[in-house]
């Protein structure tokens, strides 16, 4: 197609050269071109947060409201890049322990939202947590267990930072 072009996109540290159509959004490219199905396509209007990814500044952004061509040359983190070979990210671990999951459709978006919050504000208060989570919805249950998990992750990450000067968290 004439309106197809190549963009360079660094996802979870891996550099890709991907053909995109001008109308493709970032979530289209992540799912359909790169096979990264963790980022969901939900309301496509900025209300649900299931398409949340982290931009190179660590902030949560919505992959469904971003044209892929605008991401040419940029880097981002998706849910697939959150765990390391050493183990789950503290946010993921806390979600497991607190059962902050029901059907799971919203979970990647919630985890990316929580991770973006903690990456940009290591010591958020209750209002900060509520504010961040207001942009990522769970329709099965609610945000109580999610908030408990986020609070646990804050404690874990703070403890890990104190124990290990390089900031790595426990495996």
């Amino acid at each position: 197609m004439a309106d197809r072009q190549f963009i360079t996109l660094t996802v979870n540290g891996d550099r890709h050269r991907v053909p995109v159509a001008v109308q493709d959004t970032l979530v289209d490219v992540l799912r359909n071109r790169l096979g990264l199905m963790g980022t969901k396509r939900g309301c496509t209007s900025g209300a649900c947060g299931v398409c949340t990814v982290q931009g190179d500044d660590g902030r949560a952004v919505l992959a469904c409201l971003s044209l892929a061509v605008e991401w040419d040359g940029r880097a981002l983190t998706t849910i697939e890049g959150v765990a390391t070979p050493a183990g789950l990210h503290p946010v993921q671990q806390a979600f497991l322990e607190f059962g902050a999951v029901q059907c799971g459709a919203c979970t990647p978006g919630l985890i990316m939202t929580a991770k973006a919050l903690l990456d940009t504000n290591p010591n958020p208060d209750e209002a900060d947590i509520n504010e961040a989570l207001a942009g990522a919805l769970c329709r099965c249950t609610g945000h109580i267990k999610v908030k408990e998990a986020v609070r646990q992750a804050i404690l874990r990450m703070a403890a890990a930072t104190t124990e290990e000067p390089d900031g790595r968290t426990e495996g």
Partner: protein
């Protein structure tokens, strides 16, 4: 399908916009444009990506202007900027009340100021709209909300607009024809279709603010705490002490196609000071300034009662605030 262009600087951007004319759309944060495109409300032939243009960045004193805010600033950065938080709290509060944090990380001040008006009848899918008779906004000749209206009554839901109007801000707009400044008070039209005076070849490049020795506050009434467009918003900025108020700019947002300066309410406060009886009378007088209100997204009569309550609440809070010091 549209063509996407990415200008390297403002000159290229205004040239692309002038060439594209009415069929070009600017893309900054994208949080409104992409939704509008999906709903078939706009179908640009050219999309001009202006995110991150250097001329739209920066915040600080500039020439004669006490504060110049680049229109490309993300709402998150605006809400958290120390100068804005300390000196123009109403603007920080307004920026923070837009959408979700995800949205504010992407959406820009310029985009919020020119946010298209919204209506329960038009901001729907194309199929939904096709099941109705076209209205003023969709190339028809009636208003579904106020049947007798000869204009579109869609709501201007910008949160930063009422805050900046209370702060008496000016806008800077640039086109291939040059640069101009316009008072925010002259920027909006009371018309849901042509809701700003921005020409189709102009880009909002900055917001200019006067020196801040004012008490300011913004509040927003919504169905839920997060994410909603307001049922009504209220911004106020007062200078002087409670007994000797020098100016009072009180603005209601999300109640009409433009942010409404509540001139009668402000005049009462200037004349009588910021005290309980004047506040009560100002809140009652707000009704006169509102005129006919389209109760979109709310029950009949609700918005006028709401604005009265918001004026009471905001002015009472301002009355108790300490005077700003330099």
């Amino acid at each position: 399908m549209f063509r996407y262009v990415r200008p390297r600087d403002l000159d290229e951007a205004v040239a692309a916009l002038a060439a594209g004319g009415d069929s070009a759309s600017l893309l900054a944060g994208g949080t409104d444009l992409l939704v509008s495109m999906r709903q078939g409300l706009v179908a640009p032939a050219v999309v001009i990506g202006i995110r991150g243009l250097p001329e739209l960045n920066g915040i600080g004193p500039h020439g004669e202007d006490p504060l110049r805010i680049g229109a490309g600033i993300a709402l998150t950065d605006l809400a958290e900027h120390p100068i804005i938080v300390a000196r123009y709290p109403a603007l920080a509060q307004a920026a923070r009340s837009v959408g979700s944090r995800h949205v504010r990380n992407m959406a820009t001040l310029g985009g919020n100021l020119r946010l298209p008006t919204r209506c329960w009848y038009t901001n729907q899918s194309e199929n939904w709209r096709a099941s109705r008779i076209p209205c003023w906004k969709t190339d028809g000749g009636l208003c579904h909300v106020i049947k007798t209206s000869t204009t579109c009554r869609a709501i201007n839901s910008s949160d930063t607009a009422p805050a900046l109007l209370a702060l008496d801000a000016r806008l800077e707009a640039v086109s291939v024809r040059g640069r101009r400044e316009v008072a925010l008070a002259d920027f909006y039209n009371d018309d849901g279709v042509n809701h700003t005076t921005l020409a189709s070849d102009e880009i909002i490049t900055a917001v200019l603010l006067p020196a801040a020795r004012v008490r300011t506050l913004f509040t927003k009434a919504t169905a839920r705490t997060g994410l909603d467009y307001g049922y009504g918003t209220l911004a106020a900025a007062v200078t002087g002490s409670n007994r000797a108020i020098r100016s009072a700019r009180i603005v209601a947002g999300s109640v009409g196609s433009w942010p409404v300066l509540l001139a009668h309410a402000g005049a009462i406060i200037v004349e009588r000071g910021l005290n309980e009886s004047a506040i009560a009378d100002a809140a009652a007088a707000a009704r006169e300034d509102l005129g006919e209100v389209a109760n979109l997204f709310s029950p009949p009569g609700y918005k006028k009662r709401l604005v009265r309550g918001l004026v009471l609440q905001v002015l009472e809070q301002l009355r108790r605030q300490k005077l700003p010091v330099d």
